[in-house]
């Protein structure tokens, strides 16, 4: 039985190339990710970043200016004032670790609406919470 040259390898190679192409095109156009930073490293970043850290009180809120508080490095002392013009999720409170997207304007971090997430308090740490 004469066996035709199998198109399998060609088909596979072309498919893989196509998938890679989609991937490369996307990353080229949309760029890399958004930096994930803590207050200590914010200096010099003017673009949109994802800020993480611990909430430091007092937390002030008003209908006009939203929520105002400070965020501190998880293992450090650098802090930055934050303004968030949306309602934070219910687990938000002083001392909790959160993450919020936004950018620094005039020394104050302005958070984007709906991007503040609180981290679940230590469920898996070996230390008592």
């Amino acid at each position: 039985m004469a066996r035709k040259a199998s198109p399998a390898r060609l088909v596979i190679a072309l498919s893989v190339a196509a998938l890679l192409a989609i991937f490369l095109v996307y990353t080229a156009i949309a760029g890399g990710g958004r930096p994930v930073l803590q207050p200590g490293k914010l200096k010099g970043h003017r673009e949109k970043v994802s800020l993480g850290g611990k909430v430091v009180g007092p937390v002030r809120s008003s209908a006009k200016s939203g929520y105002r508080f400070r965020i501190r490095d998880v293992n450090g002392t650098a802090t930055i004032p934050v303004v968030y013009r949306d309602t934070p999720p219910p687990q938000f409170k002083v001392g909790r670790e959160i993450s919020v997207d936004g950018r620094v304007r005039n020394g104050v971090f302005v958070g984007d609406r709906g991007t503040l997430v609180t981290k679940c308090p230590s469920k898996y740490s070996s230390k008592p919470s």
Partner: protein
Amino acid sequence: MPELGRAALVLCLGLSLYAAAAGAFAARTRRRRLAASAANALYASFGAAVIASLVLAAALLRHDFTFSYVAGHTSRELPVAYTLSAFWGGQEGSLLLWLLILTAYAAAACALNRRRAPDLVLWVVPVLGGVASFFSFLLVVVASPFGTQPPPLDGSGLNPALQNPYMLAHPPMLYLGYVGLTVPFAFAMGALLSRRADERWIVATRRWTLGAWAFLGVGQLLGAHWAYVEVGWGGYYAWDPVENAALMPWLAATAFLHSVMVQEKKGMLKVWNVLLVILAFGLSLFGTFLTRSGILSSIHSFTEGSIGPWFVGFIAVVTAFSLALVFVRLPLLRARTKLESPISREATFLYNNLLLVALCLTILWGVIFPILSEAVRGEASAVRGPYYNFFLRSFGLPLLLLMGIGPLIAWRRSSLRALRRTFAWPAATAVATGVILLATGAGSSLLGVVAYSFSAFVLASIVVEFALGASARSSLAGESWPVALASLVARNRRRYGGYVVHAAVVLLAVGIAGSSIYDTVREKTLRPGQTLQVGRYAVTYRNSVERRAANAQEFRALVDVRRGGQLIGRMQPGRNWYPAEQQASSEMAIRRDWTRAEDLDLIVQRFNSSDGSIELKALVKPLVNLIWLSGLLFIGGALIALWPDAREQRRLAARYADSSVAAPA
């Protein structure tokens, strides 16, 4: 009693190490009694794990706060069910659950296959013993659930976000899935170690893999439902690393379930199948590592313990060992059959696999991107929803289409004429659906129209498959149509169960498309008497109330819902405050409209005590309930595919009996 628990875990460690070491030695030197002894050690390790689990469970139920774990995760007022669920609510306990399930699966897999494939089980025992040793080691040395302390008056309680029925079902389901992937991995390694190039290992683990995959799928759907109903942000999947951690092994397992069919029919893809099972198992380990190590920023992630590096080491060892083994046995696995045509069922399975693995790897890339970018650039950088959604669409839509194409194409090759005939009806359905959608205004999103049309295509092709099959069978066997349908399914459980699962996936796709592409969101501050318009609904805020429940204070906004001027219901969105844990939770109110399968979700962002107003967020999510319905269909299809088939069992037994090396036990 903690001493008993600790002793049981140490025993479990010793037994698993023995199973691994003695088992490997016995396999190498082919000693029968030693091999039996190693297998017994595996069974005994299950017993030890059961004892350790019972000790922990009893301590939880007794509120024995001398156990640090019990004090850290429960409180006296906690309802019984949640007290029990605290077993897996923390690091140490969840590791113990993992070990329990692992040893249970290991014992069962070895016991069931001991007589049918003894030379395979010979090597499977040490592999399973090795994995069990790792987890026992963690429990004995790194994260013991049996640490003690002077008992406090009351425990710290369970995070209110975890106090709901999902906590009882979601983690155990996921673990049954994750851990289940260990069995096909062990059998694959066993086959390679025993130099068997045949399908025995696949035949032996077919139902295990299907079962693990089904548990993992259902577990994820439960998690999504939990996020939707309880966490209350109106969504069900956030591409959070921990969510992806379950999705990735599931995608790899899905690819595996399909590609083994190609090996079964054509004897091809042997190496690919082994690599896929290694990938699935590796990803399940990686997934649990991600959840526990705190290495990634996630709403689920927790403070770093020392457990991360151990997992990394184990994953590295497993990967290195399995890849080395595959490399060494490569000559054994080479197949001579080739793909005959790019338009054949084998080829569509191949495309399906490529797409699934590509999706899995892009998600993996997104998940580890922060780690990589930090290592390379010194600064962590994360990718978000848009990245994942782009690839879900790019790879997911073709996958959806393939689900419809695959069943309609024959093995080996299909001519265009045959294709034109079989595709006619499904294609027409798809086009008609597209036209109707455009005509009724769904054209606002081309993506939505495409997704729905593809879904229609797949559903039509499934109906065609059932119909053609039943009518062929009915004329062949002279049976009436319903009987023909039943016997068709009974004789081909995997295929037709698979089609039902495909239908479930289509429902899922339609539900996701509807609720994310065609949804409506509105936010407004409302004083009593004021109304918010969202979609077809008018939501009027009446007033708020405060109630006291078992362990919480409940604040609720009473709201009237009207549609077309008619009052159709009352809802009570709000928030809870838990004094013991000093925590709040958002209680989203959901109104389900079953005729339209859509939900109206109301979230109270804030109660303003000064003027009695509320900040209300309202969402209308069309077709979202199809997502949950698809779960039921998914379970049904999986059950059909899993159902034991006596005829098939006899045939397989006969196939391997000729050469079986039944060792006198």
